[in-house]
Subunit: 320 residues, 4 copies
């Protein structure tokens, strides 16, 4: 559709120019990416053949773990996110299908938000005061019709060494409580106790057994969504220093809620995403890895490469 | 929502009973699955630890191939399928975001069909006269609110040995023409010439360079969608006999169009899916594998596990 | 999009031909519309200038009644229907809007089914064994991409003499109970007692106060959706004989549920729609008309003329 | 869904408080509505029984005009707005329908934006630097899950005296050109020449024959959407002074584009909506009224009362 476009673009120009000017004045240090001004994939640059090959070497048993929980219209979601799936049989109500071989088929429609259930936050998701990874201001890439930069179509996937840290085991509890913040010290202690070292390019997943609130013996989805244990500020800074590729957890928001500092909101998201180009994975079902005591594995995520998408429902595969 | 339900269920009973009765009379041989009457994952049962371990052993270089093409509202789709992505910033138009740390974020909504672009056909997709894998009749599982059986939520993912057969090379052309049917003989000859053996549990991908019609030097999306080269009937029967886990191709429909027999439609889909429980992968971008001459690799697909979904936009990862 | 189309059309031909042949064998008497074989608007043909002028003459007080209840994601709906509205501010998160005059705006997206809340059933909605108004079989007009005939885009609107029959008053109850069927005798008796005559071209609305279950003192949405009082079979036949233009009610389905004859479902829909071309209006809030004792009025419905749509959320206006 | 809510509300508080404080400092004169601080329907308050009764008196011939053009996925829309309709037959592919009477039915899903084609802009649509009718700031009512104030669910409908001014006739052209601004003088001159007086509470519609670009002999949808003739700033001020209830036109945006003052955007929207509480109607097909020379009529709009909706696709009815 070429209609309307010229008009709209010219009207936006003044606003964008003004916004960009304002932004440049205030550009923080992190606005400059270590992978260059044009980079759109951040820490995914760490996915080198050497690291991939080493990660593949972690496959010793051939056991496959499906980290994406099943997601449906009843999955707790950050408001006002919702979704629905509708199944139908286009043009097949009265007949036996297409052709002499009677080909019938079901199709489906999805209506809803992509940030529900097991999900990846692309680098266009989290920002600081409308500034995003690489110092991009909102006006520069976040069009209503889809991200023009940082969309998940740019990311080929994430393959590497997965590390699972069992925080329930670290704290000596069945399920970590809401508000428990994983600090740099916690992470280091857990890694040491669980015999695993964190390295540049890793995908680090935290297990808290928080998903027992959804499908355990005493489900409490209200509690599941009201708060959560998770990554703290010093923990996020530590993981950025190590140079991991992605951080995931078995909670809806990956980081601790309520925040450690009253009045702050999702500060770890900001440290990881805009400030360091690190991917975030939420609602990762790490419980079977924890039950098996698997702390190192080949991690493979191939998210759908939807043009301009911010988030995506995913199902990463762990293989050990 | 509990309203309406009792009413509707009772009204449906007669229809379902009648349908089931009719279906049982006519149950074809294939209605009985080799994996048992309750099986919902078909050939994914072949994903054994032993095979996964062997497939991981194929990783020699650590090179990652992203098989899912980028998909957007302009991707050619089987009518009337369409999709859109909309990006926005919930509740952030006038403010600096959430909390004292000014957390801002982009979110996105997807509206459309799941069978667009790179996609997996779950076992609930293709049928013969309204009968599906395991002899399930439409009334037994294809609810408008989502498949109650055979949904892609049931499939943990597909991991195994990937095999790429380069049919352009087999036919000695830059791009295979529409209407070219891959017969059993073609497949055997291509495999032998390309030094690769097909085995039970494999994921077999055919390369035709058909996607050059989308992004090549002379794009012709109309031709892309009007027909295609692909799997023929004897080829499908051969792959079912070998016992592969999935069959994919770099075309929108995987199998040859127009069909080999006039008046038939998507017969290979029927041989693979309802009759043998084999998964189908469409619009797989195999060109880089072909360019590199990679015929064996570790194949990892983790599709989003959306409850009751028939198809899903995917991005399988090949690693060699 | 011209791609795919030729293919699909040719494949459908056999199916359609077969279906049409089968249908013609069995064409019932009602398949021939009194308004001709090509007619797409049925009883809306009765909307003559003379009748409209007379209806306008019923406006004596200038009081406006909004018959469409407020509808939202929490409105009870026939499964699996659902809807959502999302509001956002395209491209305005970081700026002051468009132009030097700072034009900001909210926009909204609707995802869901059109048959929720106050709704009109177009003549493409209800059928008998896949045959619809004018003897059209499903294959002939009900494309997945929208109805090619009988869509609500064809209907200019409905304007005429509205008649409200207060069935709660007729039965001498505060709210009519589920299962109560309005027979021909009931309708004639209510009309006579309430001093109003039914005429050709009327829009007849039945008041039962059933909506008190949604917003009354003791709301019970479960009961609201589980059954309902409403039009019975003899009542539907009587209204068809009178030659009304539309029949509405303050219930989700207009007709009595459970049906008068065990095992039947929505038989009155069939009498009115396919067999007589009469429109159906559901979830009409007639309570204020009843409270005011208004039995005759100018009725004006201008439904959105969405191309190929079957149903539409509406808000008819009554003026007395 | 009660999960997540407490968290989110508390995080939003600081942002809202800050925003509100900033807004109050700068509250312009117009922020105070003449209908009181709590008013949500603006000029619809002018819909008095007396005016409605007088408007009904304008019906002399009983001719019905359907002002809403047919709208579909091919209707030009302000980017990135789009829509689709999908028709299907829930749970009916293999059977004869519900019950012994074989009840079959079509249903439909709508995915898309409500601001397409013939539409009403509710009072929550247009603002000045994120401030809306009654001085409401964005944070106070424009939730992503739907407007909490000013939604179209609050508006019962619009009934009154419709006035059509034929601007093509006024300028003596077949179709008014883009960029032509209707000034106060134009409006007064056109009204006088066409023998009609503008009064408080009127719904004023401007005819330019601009829709000939969509369905005329030489359709040019690109030109249709690239610009338009329409209401100018002095014209908007004049109509606000007269105190009309709504202003409509046969163009996609009602007001002149490009704007009279370079760099301004949709200034007339601001004068009418936030500053005066007047409704805007777009893509109104006024051509038949113009062809018939009908300048006064009964106008009836019953828009669907969707909870929290900003805009709505409509089909107002004119009766003369």
């Amino acid at each position: 559709m070429t209609t309307f476009t010229t008009l709209r673009v010219s009207l936006l120009c003044a606003a964008i120019a003004a916004g960009a000017a304002a932004a440049q004045d205030a550009a923080p240090d992190w606005a400059e990416s270590r992978w260059g001004a044009d980079d759109e994939i951040g820490a995914a640059n760490l996915m080198t053949p050497e690291r991939v090959k080493q990660a593949a070497g972690l496959v010793t048993d051939g056991k496959v773990y499906s980290l994406g929980m099943v997601v449906g219209s009843d999955t707790p979601a950050f408001p006002p996110r919702s979704l629905s799936v509708t199944v139908f049989q286009p043009n097949q109500a009265e007949n036996d299908g297409l052709g002499s071989n009677k080909f019938t088929y079901n199709d489906d429609i999805f209506m809803g938000w992509l940030g529900i259930g097991p999900q990846i936050d692309g680098l266009g998701h989290a920002g600081v005061d409308h500034m995003y990874y690489g110092g991009r201001t909102y006006d520069q890439f976040a069009q209503a019709s889809g991200l023009t930069e940082l969309g998940l179509d740019k990311l080929p996937g994430l393959v590497g060494r997965g590390v699972m840290l069992d925080m329930a085991s670290h704290y000596g509890v069945d399920m970590v409580e809401e508000g428990a913040a994983y600090t740099a010290e916690d992470i280091q202690a857990a890694a040491e106790a669980q015999g695993v070292e964190l390295r540049e390019g890793d995908i680090v997943l935290f297990n808290s057994n928080w998903m027992n609130l959804l499908d355990g013996d005493s489900p409490d989805p209200g509690r599941f969504g009201a708060a959560e244990p998770g990554l703290g500020v010093s923990g996020a800074e530590y993981l950025a220093e190590v140079g991991v590729m992605a951080v995931g957890a078995d909670t809806w928001g990956m980081e601790v809620v309520p925040a450690e500092v009253e009045g702050e909101a999702f500060r770890a998201h900001q440290i990881l995403q805009p400030e360091n180009g690190i991917y975030i994975l939420e609602n990762m079902d790490t419980r079977e890895l924890a039950a098996d005591g698997v702390h190192e594995f080949l991690f493979v995520l191939g998210q759908a490469r939807l043009k301009g998408a911010v988030q995506m429902i995913i199902n990463p595969i762990a293989i050990r």
